[in-house]
Symmetry: C3
Subunit: 423 residues, 3 copies
């Protein structure tokens, strides 16, 4: 099978597309032992809202693995393999105890770290429970989310924090997760694709984005110490509006606000959301993370327009949203051999290269080299939104576009060099 479909150079030539090129196994597969799956496992991943852990265990599927999450009556959170190590009964039917969770079938009791606390049917002198552990993953609660580390224990990174998680003047909440029926990569690529804002998000009837974004901006992309940013730049008289969105390896993005009209921007706005695209398996992806609002402002409510499958089909056809545009790509898992990437896709290409680089580093036993893996002070991120005044237009439209890009790159370079000053 060819890696790429033929390039069609004539009208009425669909017949030449005989074969579907394969999916990109390296970037798309997330199960245990797959290259991308092993890469993603090197990072702490949010797996559930802390508030979803109540009286009953929660069955989860994360990175193709079946798991059970629960909070025992002491308040500790456990994330265990779904099936009891004794005879395999699902612990979604387990009984949450003072410490750990007990299998309903024969009463074996498991601590949050996988310790087997009791095997009640066994003889008093049995040593089985002292020798055997149930499969567990370490978890960490932060800001209403439960994070897990599912990678090799000897590579466990410190739990990181982003500088946006405790911004002065902002409040932050955990958002209810939504499940997207497609591969994680096409969801994440959308975050470095400013062009779709000018189409998908400003369709008549679409909600959630300012009209200013309907005009094409000057688009650019730059690598950062934690990943990359896209820069979406527009002029209004002698002011230049620079909109910077983060992609933080391996699967996080941060957007500035979408709703304020340009006229109101007279200070730096930091991101309104931090969002992980956590693969449940190769064809289901959970969007989960934080919403953020300046003090005194309302939080965004719900998943947002077109961010889930809940609308009737005909309405999704009339006013499609992100969910429709992204999940429908090649029926759920992109086949890159059918794509024709263009200049607006430079960010997509840069992102794939960054991810592929990380995947191969893990595969080759090399250092990932990303600061997200080190603890201490919060990691700086670069998403924000600002207006630069006093930039007179250049002499020609083409020269002005170059000027806008230059202003924008200086904004980002300055931010990378010095971090954010107040206001």
């Amino acid at each position: 099978m060819s890696e790429r479909a033929p390039f069609l150079s004539q009208a009425f030539s669909a017949y030449r597309h005989r074969e579907r090129p394969p999916v990109d196994e390296e970037l798309s597969r997330v199960g245990p032992g797959t290259p991308c799956g092993e890469y993603l496992r090197r990072f702490w991943q949010p797996v559930i809202l802390a508030s979803e852990l109540g009286q009953l265990p929660r069955r989860l599927r994360i990175l193709g693995e079946d798991l059970v999450a629960f909070r025992d009556k002491s308040g500790a959170v456990g994330l265990l393999e779904l099936h009891c190590p004794h005879r395999g009964t699902s612990l979604e039917f387990g009984l949450i105890g003072d410490k750990g969770i007990r299998c309903c079938y024969h009463g074996w009791l498991f601590g949050c770290d996988g310790t087997i606390l009791e095997t009640p049917g066994e003889p008093a002198d049995s040593t089985l429970k002292d020798r055997l552990f149930h499969g567990a993953y370490p978890v960490h609660e932060h800001g209403g989310l439960v994070f897990a580390y599912m990678g090799p224990p000897d590579h466990t990174p410190d739990f990181p924090a982003l500088d946006t998680w405790d911004l002065p003047g902002y409040r932050q909440i955990a958002r209810a997760p939504t499940v997207w029926e497609c591969n994680w990569l096409q969801v994440k690529e959308n975050s470095m694709d400013p062009a779709h804002l000018a189409f998908l998000h400003t369709l008549p009837g679409s909600e959630g984005f300012t009209e200013d974004l309907a005009d094409l901006g000057e688009w650019d992309w730059m690598e950062t110490p934690v990943g990359m940013v896209y820069i979406d730049t527009r002029r209004q008289a002698d002011r230049v509006w620079v909109r910077v969105a983060d992609f933080i390896l391996p699967n996080i993005h941060q957007f500035p606000p979408n709703l304020d009209p340009m006229a109101q921007r007279n200070s730096i706005n930091r991101p309104m959301a931090t969002t992980w695209a956590v693969p449940l398996d190769d064809t289901h992806t959970m969007q989960i993370g934080y919403y953020r609002a300046p003090e005194g402002k309302e939080f965004r409510q719900g998943a947002g327009f077109g961010q889930d499958a809940s609308r009737p089909y005909a309405e999704r056809q009339r006013i499609p949203g992100d969910y429709d545009a992204q999940t429908s790509i090649h029926g759920g898992v992109a086949r890159h051999g059918l794509e024709h990437l263009a200049s607006t896709d430079r960010g997509v290409i840069m992102m794939r290269n960054l991810i592929r680089h990380g995947i191969r580093a893990v595969k080759n036993g090399e250092d990932l080299g990303y600061p997200i893996l080190q603890n201490g002070a919060p990691l700086p991120t670069y998403g924000h939104d600002r207006v630069v005044s006093g930039i007179a237009p250049a002499s020609t439209p083409e020269a002005d576009r170059e000027l806008l890009r230059e202003v924008a790159r200086q904004v980002v370079s300055g931010t990378i060099a010095s971090g954010f000053a107040d206001g």
Copy 2:
């Protein structure tokens, strides 16, 4: 695996049926690159009712391919590959424009022939849209149906017309398609199987067929210039009723009326329906085509008794219809190695041979040789129903049966030689 299941020659011997023989790959598979799929693609196929193309695009699956059909605001009809050639978003979420359809994600605009009319995010000097085409198939509207040609462009046949499409004294309408959950071949074989009329269609409670058909007729089959016919012949005193049904290669059939009692037949009745069995994929088949009625008579309404899956299971069990009898064959795709064909199946065998001959001609790069591929005057077809008077019974039942068959073959031979005279 053996091609044929063992022939059971004893009571209680189901145990000897250990393996399921394979499906006939040559006749049953319809996707791109399969022998039968390539054969069927050499013919114009109806894909949707013209009236189904409204304000929203229509997602279709035809011959195993995912497509989108639409009528743009200029009135032109497009049939394109479902997934945008840029990043793969489904065009079922596209916006129908004055010309063509626009992908919702980044706004690329595609003409009905696959021309890329706009790539709005790309630089003004980009030549991509002049070099690249989106996959399109040519379409042709006729009588309320949209036909497509999905074969190799350099073999595109003229659009054919059948002599039944504009019959004096008849009106014709396009019929709403029904989807049958089974392979196309078993649906089509039914059209050359007069024996089932005497059983399935005259079960108590069954509707739509005259009681005369409950008596076994003299059954015969003949090849015609466009395919074949079955002939179902019965005597009433000195009159001989000859009922001729067309199979027109590769997947069309035409039946005379089913409802008029023999006593009323004193002139030639031409077919009341022209029906295509269009494979959606290997296990789903769309029946679509035309209904026809003599002026002043009503059209048949709806799909007809037992022609779809809409009835409750117990009712389908009590009074099964065509849908139940055909779709249930071997669970959806016939396995010929489990069949025991008999004398009533001579038409099925003849049909398979005709189709196989065409499949192999395409495979070997030979001329199909069927007039359906040439344009100009409408193609003659042979389905009709007539009563021949003044044929006294022969001396013995056996001789009379031979006489009936002889009369019938003369009727068909005469029709093939001379076409239809009026009334």
Copy 3:
């Protein structure tokens, strides 16, 4: 792929479980030609309630085979291959006749033994129906159940009867079957697992078992002439309560009553149920059989608490039952390489060995050697429940446990040697 998952000997080591071990092909697969499928086919199996055979045919799936069951108007019961041998139409749409069942499509008529009684469209001198048979299996009705023998005809065993089927002082009824969405083996293993009674069946809110069973018993297992038993033994003052449950090869079990408090036991109670776990296919299992009640007592009603999938998910999580514990094992088909069997699983191990021994005997063409295959007097079985008085406690708890097991084994040995005396 490794047969066994790694033994986890540390906390937080789920990452070491990279691969899922395979299913046990020898014990789990039941289709035609599989080792276990061929073994199970050597025994008469109940396939449907006699009362389910009414005016319409019943489509069945048994051991991976699609079948149709019906009772013709003469009262005879047929169990035939589902698909008509002529063209393959499903006989679930067939017409039940005075003798046999007629295919709806072309009217071929099949007797209950597979004889083809009529091929109405064929010439009068056709010999096809005299030479060809439709696939049929022999059936036997007993006590409201229809049994079938689906093995090789030259090994057809006599129809057996168990001594429990006609017990003096008891009435017996056939029970409505329930379908469990999992492999047959994990359902059957449960029958030789007394430990789960002390957990699953005495959870708060669980119904159907006496509280006495919440205390751990002394558990033991012994082979019998027809399979094996588990023995669940408890002391109350100087009385010893011995509870014996049968597993009868290949897939039958019998339990004593679950509800009577120990205080009431002053005579022998024979099993309240005889239950087959009949594989429909590899992932669906039908529990079917008999309920039994002492004269004057009520029959158990319905499937019983937690014995089907009918309860809401959250309720199944709060108070899980047998259905939840067993069907959830490894998602439906146990993977023994993920298990960690312990002392309570000695019965499971013994059962697997007995079944594996039978499977290999069939595979090697050897004699099965089980009395269930011979006719004549009913087969003795050993399940019962009795209280032995006058057994003073031993000097230490450990010695007393040994004493209990000794008493219990003598009870079973005595029963095997002599059968059951009255009262």
